[in-house]
């Protein structure tokens, strides 16, 4: 079928938008210093590390910030300390240390030269000041994580003096942690893709032609990636197309409910200047070939064709699609 050109609809569909959540439980091997620090918290012991010039860093690091030398000289500091600066958090967000308003504080433990960031449980900002004395409130259940310190709380009294050497040895040390990460986006595919999806809802595939190189992009992107100019001329392509190349997938992907083996193909729809990717069905997997003529099969209310199947036409000549492979 020859492609047909259309101008943008006056009643163009509204631009789509949907939540996109990127979430993964990353893991972290701790190495010797962080392993000792986090295992220590599980045992209600706060460890720091001594640098080449004698300062005590809490939380500890593996390499001397001044000399870059490896440092492994662990020391135990107190579980009490002094607030060096703070900021009131009136509206805690999910997963923050406390679910009632609290102060973010930097606490210098007694015996340490640097401060650690954590939460201070206080009735209000008037109860917090730089220089105030605080102590650790330990979590009831401790696993070897920074959350083993539930928070800090006000404390009237002196702390221990200097840091004391510690070998960092504990039974059953924590050597790795899970560090889940989650990003919440609002994703919008933009005007070009929104128009494309609106047409697909009617089982029509509409690309856009570049006014400069005349190539037809499917799916359209609103701009030609080669010429860098806006694409506005709409062009209906397909529905039939040609398999330009493919592979036979023999291993099941975790997130896909497709029986293997199946054919994953690049298909150049008639009138399009680059191939899209789709599954081939309606033919034994080992009979699929380059040049096979195919058409879409729609299922239910799927946004995209479920798969493509042979049309029964003769195969396309290699020369007719080799520029699209």
């Amino acid at each position: 079928m020859p492609p047909t050109s259309r101008t943008p609809d006056a009643d163009a569909p509204e631009v789509l938008s949907a939540p996109l959540v990127v979430e993964f439980p990353f893991t972290r091997s701790l190495g010797p210093v962080q392993s000792a620090f986090l295992t220590g918290l599980r045992e209600r012991v706060v460890l720091g590390v001594r640098t080449g010039d004698g300062r005590v860093l809490v939380p500890p690091v593996e390499y001397d910030p001044a000399t870059a030398e490896e440092i492994r000289d662990l020391v135990e500091v107190g579980t009490t300390g002094t607030v060096t600066t703070w900021s009131w958090n009136p509206a805690p967000r999910p997963h923050q240390p406390l679910d009632t308003p609290f102060a973010w504080v930097l606490v210098r433990f007694d015996g340490a030269d640097t401060a650690l960031l954590h939460a201070l449980d206080a009735p209000g900002p008037d109860a917090v000041r730089t220089g105030m004395r605080v102590r650790v409130r330990w979590a009831a259940e401790r696993t070897g994580a920074i959350t083993d310190i539930a928070c800090f709380e006000p404390y009237e009294g002196d702390g221990r003096g200097d840091a004391t050497p510690h070998d960092g040895e504990f039974t059953d040390p924590v050597t790795g942690i899970t560090a889940p990460a989650r990003l919440d986006y609002t994703y919008s595919p933009g005007r070009a893709q929104s128009r494309y999806l609106a047409a697909l809802a009617g089982h029509r595939t509409v690309g856009e032609r570049c006014p400069s190189c005349r190539k037809v992009y499917v799916p359209p992107r609103g701009a030609c990636p080669t010429c860098g100019v806006a694409t506005r001329d709409q062009v209906e392509v397909g529905p039939r197309g040609t398999v330009t190349t493919f592979c036979i997938v023999n291993i099941k992907a975790k997130n896909l409910d497709i029986d293997v083996p199946y054919v994953y193909a690049h298909i150049a729809l008639d009138g399009a200047d680059l191939a899209l990717h789709a599954r081939i069905g309606g033919i034994p997997y080992d009979e699929v070939r380059m040049g096979l003529r195919v058409e879409p099969v729609w299922r239910g209310d799927g946004r995209y064709p479920d798969h493509y199947r042979p049309t029964g036409e003769p195969d396309a000549d290699y020369d007719s699609y080799k520029e699209l492979v």
Binding site: F24, C224, Y264
Partner: protein, 408 residues
Amino acid sequence: MSEGGAPGSGTPRPGASRAAVSKEPVAVVGIGQTRHVAARRDVSLAGLVREAARRALDDAELSWQDIDAVVIGKAPDFFEGVMMPELYLADALGAVGKPILRVHTAGSVGGSTALVAADLVAARVHRTVLTLAFEKQSESNAMWGLSLPVPFQQPLLAGAGGFFAPHVRAYMRRTGAPATVGSLVAYKDRRNALKNPYAHLHEHDITLEKVQASPMLWDPVRYSETCPSSDGACAMVLTDRAGARRAPRPAAWMHGGAMRSEPTLFAGKDFVSPQAGKDCAAAVYRQAGVADPRREIDVVEMYVPFSWYEPMWLENLGFAAPGEGWKLTESGVTELDGDLPVNPSGGVLSANPIGASGMIRFAEAALQVRGQAGEHQVPGARRALGHAYGGGSQFFSMWLVGAEPPAT
């Protein structure tokens, strides 16, 4: 940029001599790698990069104080969930009080990171630069990172192998290459890896029959023709002429370096032999004065994550005419004892800490011309090409290193 034609081309500043506008020659005087493995659970990310960096400094017999700047690279952020490694790793890399910056070009990043570092020396911004790239695949899942479920978009139905396998089939159709060529590459690279103590895979009982009998994952790509998932880091110390004179071991000299990019998908994209790859190689050869790469280059470390990419890149990089790359592989030219050895280290097929893989190619090329490659040394190697690519064949970075300083 590591670009440009003859020294002194362009418009010199008034009063500047030709010599003053020429670039400083760049020498590789230190190289360090970790032993690449599936999971380095004994070290933190900081400990991993530190190990490679320390080995590179030891090789150059330099201390942290001798380094003027640090340039690091890693794979896309989702691969490990570390968004700002330059911040997190500054102390481990001795960057306190010095410039540190990060380079980001997907799988080619190890190569482009080295080139950014080289440019800092060539431009006389810094005299001695530490460059490093790393990956801890065990702490994440690259397949997940590559297949985020973007709303409204059709999901990729096949994973990374499924992305590349159709392009391999297209290559076979275009060139008439026999189906066995991919297995020859895998068999060669895995045997080469046995001579490289840093390689991840050491398959002592490897045979061609075993490669050819391994499961077909994404037909036409077999399991044994795919790269492993590795943890590892690679570092290099780059310096100027004065630094090279003080170096305890022979330097590798940079004779050319270039990067090129193109969109991942566009009408007319040639996935079998991308234009950006051809252009990048041409720029490197022009800088190095190489007219016939097949005759003038002694050894190649190229980025081959799936075995068929060896013949494909042989053509893309100008070592063979279009359609002829597989013949070099099939006739043994690319074997360790062939006359154009490709991936004597075992290549990406034998170790793939993604973010580091490109820099490992660059570093292995440098080891060859320094005569420091150990058991996988190509005798008499004088000029070597290091090659990296990434994204969906979107980014290319390459350098050509030699045993002699470039003519200035």
